[in-house]
């Protein structure tokens, strides 16, 4: 293991983080402060997610790391290799085979199970960050469950645009009590959090906060009765596998305006293609 403790962090740190995680699980959606450590990569690159993963990882776990749905981006690859080196755990790109999945800004398309843990990388844990400049007042609002301000923001969106304009990091109410930022996942992914069988952990390294959603917890996206929440996606099929219900990335293919829509979740797309599904791009 090259002289590192298992999963890089020392045992005392992991203990501290696990205590924070326990608190977070006990109060779903509530942000728990923790002593975020200096990691071998700067703030803004996933240090929170990495610390949470490091604290829950065991020798027998299988780890998957995705970045905007893809296993093969530079960051996903680096983080996966980091844990392979410092923890010696098995790694995979297949959602169904993983026991711990660390993700940046997406939830896998394949439904998760009770024996899996999903770890989200969170840049800004405070859902009221842009609405209430005072941190103290924001904490008071959480403490007193005074969330009128967030509804005002949604009201303003509908007034200005005719619909809520939030397309990612769409605020949710957890367990009917805490307002939570789900991290910058697309609004499309929000419904997956509701009553998910897997444990969902959220780590913000720079902001030094951890929060959690225990399995089978109510997670509801904020909306109005006459403007209900809609999970929106690009109205296309994946050009590679033909999926019509997965979240799509838009890829610019040439300088003549050519576009290709493909599944953002690379494992999902590959698996479908292996099963024989094809999209228009491959069929052509």
């Amino acid at each position: 293991m090259n002289g590192y403790n298992f999963a890089y962090l020392d045992e005392q740190t992991k203990r501290m983080i696990r205590r924070a995680i326990l608190k977070a699980v006990a109060i779903p959606g509530h942000q728990v402060p923790f002593g975020s450590r200096e990691m071998p990569l700067p703030y803004g690159w996933g240090t929170g997610g990495i610390q949470v993963t490091a604290s829950v990882l065991g020798a027998n776990d299988t780890l998957k790391v995705i970045d905007q749905g893809a296993d093969d981006t530079t960051n996903a690859v680096s983080i996966r290799r980091f844990f392979a080196r410092t923890a010696g755990v098995a790694t995979t790109t297949h959602t169904a085979e993983a026991t711990v999945i660390q993700t940046r800004h997406r939830i896998p398309e394949h439904p998760l199970r009770e024996d899996q843990i999903l770890v989200y990388q969170v840049p800004q844990p405070e859902p009221l960050f842009k609405l209430e400049p005072s941190r103290a007042e924001a904490r008071r609002m959480h403490g007193l469950a005074e969330y009128g301000l967030m509804h005002v923001k949604l009201y303003e969106d509908i007034t200005r645009y005719g619909h809520v304009s939030i397309s990612y990091d769409y605020p949710v109410m957890v367990g009917g009590r805490y307002l939570m930022s789900p991290s910058p996942i697309p609004a499309f992914d929000n419904p997956k959090m509701h009553m998910m069988p897997a444990l969902q952990l959220f780590g913000a390294g720079r902001e030094k906060r951890i929060y959690a959603i225990p399995p089978y917890t109510r997670v509801e996206s904020l909306d109005f009765e006459d403007h209900p929440f809609r999970a929106t996606r690009a109205p296309h099929a994946c050009g590679l596998c033909g999926a019509e219900d997965s979240y799509l990335d838009e890829v610019v293919t040439d300088d003549k305006g050519g576009r290709l829509f493909v599944c953002s979740d690379t494992d999902h797309c590959e698996t479908r293609r292996a099963d024989g599904h094809t999209g228009t791009e491959l069929a052509a």
């Binding site: 007193l144 005074e146 969330y147 009128g148 301000l149 509804h151 005002v152 009201y155 303003e156 509908i158 007034t159 200005r160 909306d223 109005f224 009765e225 006459d226 403007h227």
Partner: protein, 258 residues
């Protein structure tokens, strides 16, 4: 506390160091009544307003509030969440500077609707309609419902603050110099509006003002304060037309007629 009062205070004392802000102050307010607290700077009138509304704690003395079910509570013994909830529903507070109580980056409709949303309203259409209705009540053109308060004049901002405060039909509204800083013509319109709304809705009001004319126009009763002491209290026209206390006589005689 008698059977009928909405708000009662007994033996309020508060000193800022050696400076007396409240000295054995008693006050009562009945439902639907407008009580003016008048005095010059340093009289303690704003301190009294803040203590009555729970925003500032007295060093001794008690303030009781009787809610719509007749349940009496000690305002300063209430939990913070209860007091905040009270301020959002049954109570209102109109600040001298409307910007202190408005979200300048949120539309007029959003400002008025916020209290409704804070109370659990979740229907966009009805919130907006209610907001428009209230804007009409305070004589703000319906067409401005989506405009930002940044584009409003001082008088409009104050009227918007009033709409925002009254939208939850509070039983008791505290007002701190609501017409202070406004042009005279604007003041007249605002005073008339306050007078009409208060009477029509049967709201009890505790109004702090240094302007005796405002007290005469709006209040049933008036309390005159000087350096933390209530020197005289009674029927507004009686206190202003037949002042008994030397300080009241001084105040009344100092007012310039237009």
């Amino acid at each position: 506390m008698t059977d009928e009062t909405l708000l009662s205070a007994r033996n309020l004392n508060l000193h800022f160091g050696a400076v007396p802000a409240l000295v054995n102050v008693n006050a009562d307010l009945w439902p639907g009544e407008v009580l003016a607290i008048v005095g010059e700077s340093g009289s303690g009138k704003t301190t009294l307003l803040n203590v009555l509304s729970g925003r500032m704690a007295p060093q001794s003395g008690t303030v009781w509030y009787r809610d719509s079910e007749g349940v009496q509570s000690d305002v300063h013994a209430m939990s913070a969440p209860s007091l905040r909830a009270l301020h959002r529903s049954d109570w209102g507070f109109v600040h001298q500077n409307p910007r202190d109580n408005l979200r300048m980056g949120v539309s007029a409709g959003g400002n008025v609707g916020e209290r409704l949303m804070a109370q659990g309203s979740r229907h966009y259409g009805s919130i907006r309609e209610e907001a428009i209705r209230w804007l009409a009540q305070v004589e703000i053109d319906e067409a401005r419902v989506d405009d930002l308060p940044r584009t409003f004049s001082g008088g409009m901002l104050q009227r918007l603050q009033i709409a925002r405060t009254l939208v939850t039909h509070p039983r008791l509204v505290f007002m701190d110099e609501p017409t202070g800083g406004l042009d005279v013509s604007v003041q007249a319109r605002l005073l008339d509006l306050i007078r009409t709304l208060v009477r029509r809705l049967g709201i009890a009001v505790v109004l702090v003002t240094h302007d005796l004319a405002v007290a005469r126009l709006l209040a049933h009763r008036v309390m005159v304060m000087q350096r933390g002491v209530v020197v005289e209290t009674g029927l507004t026209d009686q206190v202003l037309d037949d002042p008994q206390h030397p300080y009241t006589q001084l105040l009344v005689s100092s007012v310039l007629a237009a």
